[in-house]
Structure formats: structure tokens, C-alpha cells
């Protein structure tokens, strides 16, 4: 996402607060509606009655040239499901056709019992209540429960989705989870230099860590939690300090 | 405040018992016709009635557990059970606390995994209060549960003990309880001798704790003998009748 930032927002971070009118869009929007470019609004932006656009969340205004999309990136803790995003959830219930999965959103999400690689009516995986699953949101509609899948629908392959065995999961802010997914964020790489581990990061702020022993996993979890408001240099010292103490 | 002499110079207690002596225990099971199991128990003048329903279809589907039974306990004190007639509201914290103790005591002992998705109700009624309600409730509930044929890994036997003036004493009555003696209620699994519940109020020095606790443990073992006799007699009686 970071790579698609437009030039103007790369120059300076534009912070918006709820109620702020958007200057950039104002001009382009007030023109004759036929010739005006189509704008797509993402989370945190709302068109008002007089055709102006107002921010409804506090955060950084982001813009992507592709499709002329605008949105506000905020660091909230409650997850709102969006299609295509990878999340980590816990099985909380089972029906004949679906697993009910808690992904930390307003409602539990539905995961079809057949939405797994190689699953058929005869042969489908059985996940007990309490199982941790890494899945993709296939359908998210604000009026309905989100739907999940544990495979790529076009290829039918698992693509790494499925149940997460062992390890430990903890919750972070959504902002940190997004940053962990950004290859430019160093904390995971710094940790990897000291300790080998597996990880899965869900856009819903759940981070799963697995390593050879419990103490390492605990260290990694705490290091990631600590890193949220630290600079890269501080991260390096923090990790070094933790590893030395081990 | 005039203090009552709780221990006579000869070492006898206010009701004439020796320190390590239980009050007279009377117990019967199957006293109610509708309940799946029931028991009536007297510790001296403390009288309690227990009824067990279940395992049966859970009342509230939202509370159902997919892998075991839920245990629900309701505890009630009759308004006429104490010297001072008094009606307690249903939300009295003390009643709820007592119910919660009983519930948590039986959760690890009852083999709830045998009865997935169902509910076991335990109703307790204090008919007369003369100290040691918690022990009486636990003992009565144990007998009612066994009477209902519900699988349990062991009995749960409860007994109180306290530090009365200069000695550790067992099975305190109301007068001893209310005159600021420290009292501990212990519920024990007699087979392993492990303690499942322990409640203590009022101050007691750490060094005296062990003595009081082990005395209460002895009391639990005595309770076990008494309860087991009642249960066994009833089982043998029924078995003999059926064998005709």
C-alpha cells in the first residue's frame, strides 16, 4: 500500500480529524459533475449532502492514483472486515455447513466447512472449537456476517491458509499489524537475525508466533508489542537487550 | 460487650462438647418425590435440605456447554431459620456467594463430561441455622448428587474448625461462630485427602493455621464415614428390594 502513495501525500503526512473537510477533493469535486474524475472513498471518509467530503476518523489521509482512491489510515483496535484481507480467527462454534470464527470484528465470521484445500463432502477437515485459523476474508458486507475461506478460490490451493498449530497468538493495534506486513518494517527481520521463528500476521491485529521453545516465543511477542512506538534504532537496542538477557 | 465464656476451665465447649467432637449428625436421602436426588441433613441444630434435578435438558440454550454439563446452584435461607425472622432478597450477595462456592466445589468432582450439553441443578434450603451452613450445604449436596446417580469421582465432605479461645475446635455452632472466633470451612475429598474448598474469616496467626486445618480435615473424614453409611445403607436396601 505504501508504494502506491501519491506524490502529494508523500511530501508531508496529512493528518485529518473527524469533521475536517478534504481540500484536495473539494476542488475536483465542485467542478461540473460530468467532467469530474470518479473518486472512490475508503474507510474514514464520508460524502456530505453538499458534495463535500468529510473525514469521520482521525488519522493520516492516504491516496492511491490507481482508481483515484482516498482513505484515512487510523490506528484503531477494533477490526472491520474488508474483503481480501488475511485474518487470524478462533473457531467458536460449529454448524453443519459453517464454522463460526471470532476474528475480533463486530460479529463472528462464517467459514464454510468446504472452504479448505482439497475438502469435499466426504473428506473435510474437522476443526475443534478453540482452533486457531489463518484465513482470507472472501466477502464482507456491512449488513452481514463476513465470510472467510482457507484457500485460493481460483487455484483451490491453500496458499498457506489453514489452521495454525502450536505457537502463541496475541493482539496488537491494527496499525502495528499493518506495519508488520509492510516489508519496510524491520522489527521482524531484526528478531529473525537472533532467533528463528514462524509468524502469521492478521490484518485484524492478531499476530501468531511460533518458535523452537516457549521462552523464545515469549521474547518475540513482547519485542513486537514493545516495538510499536519505537524507532528502528531503538528497536535494534531493545531486541539486543532482550536477547542478551535470555 | 460482655464476652461469653466459650471454653470451660475443664476444656468443655458451650454446648458441652469436647473440642474435637462433632455435633450429632442425622442424614437421610431420597426425601423428596419429584427430585432426581435429595437429602436431608442435620448437624446438631443446623438443618438443611438439598434437591438435585438432572442431568436434564438445559433451560437456557445460550449457556449450554458443548463438552460438559453445567452445574447450577441455588441457595436459600428460610426466614424462620434464625432467631431473628428476616426475609432475604434473592440478590443477597451472601446467598449468591454460597451458591457459587457450592457450584465451584462440585465442578471438578462431578464427572460433567459424561453429561455434555445438559444441566444439573442443585437446590439448597437452610431450614434451621445454628452455625456451619456451608459445611451442611456441601455435605447435603454431595448426598443428593449421589442419590441422583450422578457420577462423581469421590465424596466431598466438609467440616468447620476454628480457634476457640485457647484451643482448636471442630464444627462450631452459632454462638461460637458469632463471637469473633476465626472459623475455617474445609471441603475435602476423603479418598485423596485433598482440599477442594477452603474459606476462612476473621484473624488467625499463620502458626496456628496448620493445626486448625488438620483438625477440620479430621472432621471431614468423620463426616465421610457417616455419609457413606447412609448412602450405603440406602443402596443396599434398594438393591435387596429389587433382588426379590
Amino acid at each position: 500500500m505504501a508504494s502506491t502513495l501519491s506524490e502529494e501525500s508523500r511530501d508531508s503526512l496529512q493528518i485529518v480529524l473527524p469533521g475536517d473537510l478534504l481540500p484536495a477533493t473539494e476542488s475536483s469535486f465542485n467542478e461540473d459533475s460530468a467532467s469530474a474524475p470518479i473518486i472512490k472513498l475508503g474507510p474514514g471518509l464520508q460524502p456530505l449532502q453538499d458534495d463535500t467530503i468529510s473525514a469521520v476518523k482521525a488519522g493520516v489521509l492516504k491516496h492511491a492514483e490507481v482508481g483515484n482512491r482516498w482513505w484515512v489510515e487510523s490506528n484503531q483496535r477494533r477490526y472491520v472486515a474488508a474483503p481480501g484481507e488475511s485474518v487470524i480467527g478462533v473457531v467458536v462454534g460449529k454448524t453443519v455447513e459453517h464454522y463460526k470464527v471470532d476474528i475480533g470484528a463486530a460479529q463472528t465470521a462464517l467459514l464454510g466447512v468446504l472452504a479448505f484445500e482439497g475438502a469435499s463432502k466426504r473428506n473435510k477437515p474437522n476443526h475443534e472449537i478453540g482452533t486457531l485459523l489463518y484465513c482470507r476474508i472472501s466477502l464482507a458486507n456491512k449488513d452481514m456476517e463476513a465470510e472467510l475461506e482457507c484457500m485460493n478460490p481460483t487455484t483451490g490451493k491453500s496458499d498457506g491458509y489453514g489452521d495454525l498449530k502450536g505457537g502463541f497468538v496475541f493482539k496488537t493495534s491494527l496499525g502495528l499489524a499493518r506495519r508488520l506486513l509492510d516489508p519496510k518494517t524491520l522489527i521482524l527481520r531484526i528478531l529473525g537475525q537472533h532467533i528463528p521463528f514462524e509468524t502469521a500476521v492478521g490484518m485484524n491485529g492478531k499476530v501468531w508466533i511460533n518458535s523452537a521453545n516457549a521462552k523464545h516465543t515469549i521474547l518475540i511477542c513482547n519485542a513486537i508489542k514493545n516495538s510499536e512506538f519505537l524507532s528502528q534504532e531503538e528497536c535494534v537496542t531493545m531486541v539486543k537487550g532482550l536477547v542478551d538477557r535470555l | 460487650m460482655s464476652r461469653v465464656e466459650l471454653l470451660s476451665p475443664e476444656g468443655l465447649r458451650i454446648d458441652g462438647r469436647r473440642p474435637a467432637e462433632l455435633r450429632k449428625i442425622t442424614s437421610t436421602t431420597a426425601v423428596l418425590s419429584q427430585a432426581d436426588g435429595s437429602a436431608y441433613l442435620e448437624h446438631g441444630n443446623t438443618k438443611v435440605l438439598a434437591a438435585v434435578y438432572g442431568p436434564r435438558e438445559a433451560r437456557h440454550r445460550a449457556l449450554v456447554l458443548h463438552d460438559r454439563a453445567i452445574i447450577n446452584v441455588e441457595f436459600n435461607v428460610a426466614p424462620f431459620s434464625t432467631g431473628e425472622r428476616r426475609r432475604r432478597t434473592k440478590n443477597d450477595k451472601r446467598l449468591l456467594e454460597m451458591a457459587s462456592f457450592v457450584k465451584q466445589t462440585f465442578e471438578p468432582v462431578v464427572v460433567t463430561t459424561l453429561y455434555a450439553r445438559s444441566q444439573i441443578d442443585i437446590y439448597l434450603q437452610i431450614i434451621q441455622h445454628d452455625g456451619g451452613t456451608l459445611q451442611a450445604c456441601i455435605n447435603a449436596a454431595t448426598m443428593a448428587l449421589i442419590d441422583a446417580g450422578i457420577a462423581m469421582t469421590d465424596y466431598v465432605c466438609a467440616c468447620t474448625a476454628g480457634w476457640v479461645e485457647r484451643e482448636a475446635a471442630i464444627d462450631l455452632n452459632h454462638i461460637e461462630e458469632s463471637s469473633d472466633t476465626s472459623e475455617v470451612t474445609v471441603a475435602m475429598l476423603p479418598k485423596s485427602g485433598k482440599i477442594t474448598l477452603m474459606q476462612m474469616e476473621s484473624r488467625l496467626h499463620v502458626d496456628k493455621l496448620e493445626e486448625v486445618l488438620s483438625l477440620a480435615g479430621e472432621g471431614c473424614k468423620q463426616m465421610h464415614v457417616v455419609m457413606d453409611k447412609t448412602i450405603r445403607d440406602r443402596a443396599e436396601d434398594l438393591a435387596a428390594k429389587m433382588a426379590v
Partner: protein, 322 residues
């Protein structure tokens, strides 16, 4: 000996063979075997019934398998209920005497509809959870053989409504332990023309048939779940049954006062036997009925008369056996 075999008397020879094979020669094993054989020898005296209470060790021999009412701890088999030890070969179980219904497949049960749900009824069987009667497990009126359709789903209440009593058979168990029952036979279905009563499930014996017609003109269904249905006699010729009327809610019209009294008398006899915790089957009920004839119907609720009837019935059964 009575019909209940608390201990299946295993021949000494086969037992010792098993022992030498398994090489279990510890003392506890001996104890149990000796005890059981001694019980088998004089099992007519009830004092030797092996009664255990929760937490009691039944055997320390790990060669035994644990059955219902037991659990294993440190390789010992312990009882988890108060009841009588049952031993079938190497399987040890403890049967609690007073408990809810624990069913087996094929049991005839009497139940009460508690809920009409999606394609199924829920039925109270006095067990730990309501049993399920699937729409696909009932007969259609008139004995029509076809798949159940949506129209059938919509008129489920015309078949069975909340509160209706049914007699059915345990078909299978669901994974969570709930029973699935069926009424796909003309013997099963809705109950009419009679009176319901409840006894401890342990008292009802497993017999060849649970449907009986007594000489006094009363029909009897002894549900293994302790629910019993006593009703006016209806001809049992299967050809005569009006298959259209299987779900009717109407009692037959010609039930006389004598019929009604006979029903009440039989029901009271069963209550008298149950109060004394005596096994219930058609024979003993017949004897109890005869014993009761010397009393007025309304006196049969009195405790001493109930006791008298039960004792006489038991004596009659013993006499019959010689």
C-alpha cells in the same frame, strides 16, 4: 434366582485360564474373584450384593475393563456412583439404583413431546437431554410410503404436538449422546385412551415385549425409561388398525366406568410396587392387581395398603417360581 444377574457367574475354570494367560496373580485379583464367586454361590441372600459408593476401589487388577459408573485412577477401577457392581466377563460397571434413564438402542420408551422444531420433535424421555424424533422417522397417516416433503414439515403439529405422549424405540445416538428415536412401526406412535405414570427407570425390566394386555382388560406399555402408559384395551390385530387415525387426538368413545376403574387400579398397583422399589413386569402387575381386588380403589393410595399389595404380589411371584 431372581431375573437380575448382578454377577454373571463365570465358570471358575475359564477364569483361571484367563488368569494364567494374562499372568495376573496378585492378591487383589484373587479377592475380587473369590468374592464374586462367593456372591454367585449364595446370591439369593441380598446381603452379599456388592454395593459400592463413589470413590471406592472395585478392583486393582488392570486386566478389567471399566464400564459405566466407574473410572480409572492409578490403574485401579473405582466407582463413580453408589450402586451395585455388575460384571460381565472382564467388564466391570456399576449400576446406580436411582437415576435418570440411560438408554440402549432398541429400547421401547414412552416420551412426551416438548418442542416442535425444524424437521424434528424434541421428546422428554427422563434422560439427560431431550431425545430427537426426526420427521423422517415417523410414519405418514394411512401408511403412505414416500419421502417427507415441505408440506409435511408444515403440518408437523398435526402429527405430534407439544404435550403429546408417544411410544417409540431408541434408534441411535447422536455424537453428543442425545437419543434419536423412531415410531416407524404400527406398534409405536401416539398414545390415547389411558393414563400416564412415572417410576424409577431402573425398576422396569428389559423384556421380550413391553406391550402387554392384562386379563382385566387393560393395555400396558412399560417404557424402559420409567414412563408407563396404562390404557383401555384396543384390539391388537394389526390388520384392524385404522392407519388413517394413528395421529388422532380423540379417545375411543366406548370406555366404560369399569374400564376406567381398571386402569386406575392397575396404575395404583404399579405405584404401590414402585413405592417399595420392586421390579415391574406384567406378571407381578397381574398378581398385584389380584391382590388389590380386596381393597376399594380409593383406599389404594394409603401407604399400608400399598405395602400390603406389594408384599402379596411378591409372595405370589415367589410361590409361582416354587
Amino acid at each position: 434366582m431372581s431375573e437380575i444377574a448382578f454377577y454373571s457367574p463365570v465358570p471358575r475354570s475359564s477364569n483361571s485360564k484367563a488368569k494364567s494367560k494374562g499372568n495376573h496373580s496378585n492378591d487383589n485379583d484373587m479377592d475380587l474373584d473369590e468374592m464374586i464367586s462367593s456372591v454367585a454361590k449364595n446370591s439369593s441372600t441380598s446381603a452379599t450384593l456388592h454395593v459400592v459408593t463413589p470413590g471406592e476401589v472395585i478392583t486393582t487388577d488392570s486386566a478389567y475393563m471399566r464400564g459405566h459408573g466407574t473410572y480409572v485412577e492409578n490403574e485401579k477401577v473405582l466407582s463413580s456412583v453408589a450402586g451395585v457392581v455388575d460384571r460381565v466377563n472382564k467388564l466391570i460397571s456399576v449400576r446406580p439404583l436411582h437415576t435418570r434413564y440411560n438408554g440402549e438402542i432398541g429400547d421401547v420408551v414412552v416420551g412426551r413431546i416438548t418442542e416442535v422444531a425444524q424437521k424434528r420433535w424434541k421428546v422428554d424421555l427422563n434422560s439427560r437431554s431431550d431425545a430427537i424424533l426426526m420427521l423422517s422417522s415417523v410414519n405418514l397417516p394411512g401408511g403412505v410410503q414416500r419421502r417427507k416433503q415441505e408440506s409435511d414439515e408444515l403440518q408437523m403439529r398435526n402429527f405430534f404436538m407439544e404435550g403429546d405422549l408417544v411410544v417409540a424405540e431408541v434408534q441411535s445416538f447422536f455424537t453428543d449422546g442425545a437419543y434419536s428415536i423412531h415410531t416407524r412401526s404400527l406398534k409405536y406412535g401416539k398414545l390415547r385412551n389411558g393414563s400416564f405414570l412415572e417410576v424409577a427407570p431402573a425398576l422396569v425390566q428389559r423384556c421380550k415385549s413391553h406391550f402387554h394386555s392384562l386379563a382385566c382388560g387393560v393395555d400396558l406399555i412399560l417404557g424402559l425409561n420409567g414412563y408407563i402408559w396404562v390404557s383401555a384395551h384396543v384390539p391388537q390385530n394389526l390388520d384392524e388398525i385404522d392407519t388413517e387415525q394413528v395421529y388422532s387426538n380423540k379417545n375411543k368413545e366406548d370406555i366404560t366406568v369399569q374400564d376406567r376403574e381398571a386402569i386406575a387400579r392397575v396404575a395404583n398397583c404399579i405405584r404401590a410396587l414402585a413405592a417399595e422399589f420392586i421390579f415391574i413386569n406384567d406378571t407381578i402387575i397381574s398378581f398385584a392387581y389380584e391382590a388389590s381386588l380386596q381393597h376399594k380403589l380409593k383406599d389404594m393410595t394409603k401407604k399400608e395398603i400399598m405395602h400390603q399389595i406389594a408384599t402379596e404380589a411378591v409372595d405370589a411371584v415367589e410361590n409361582m417360581k416354587g
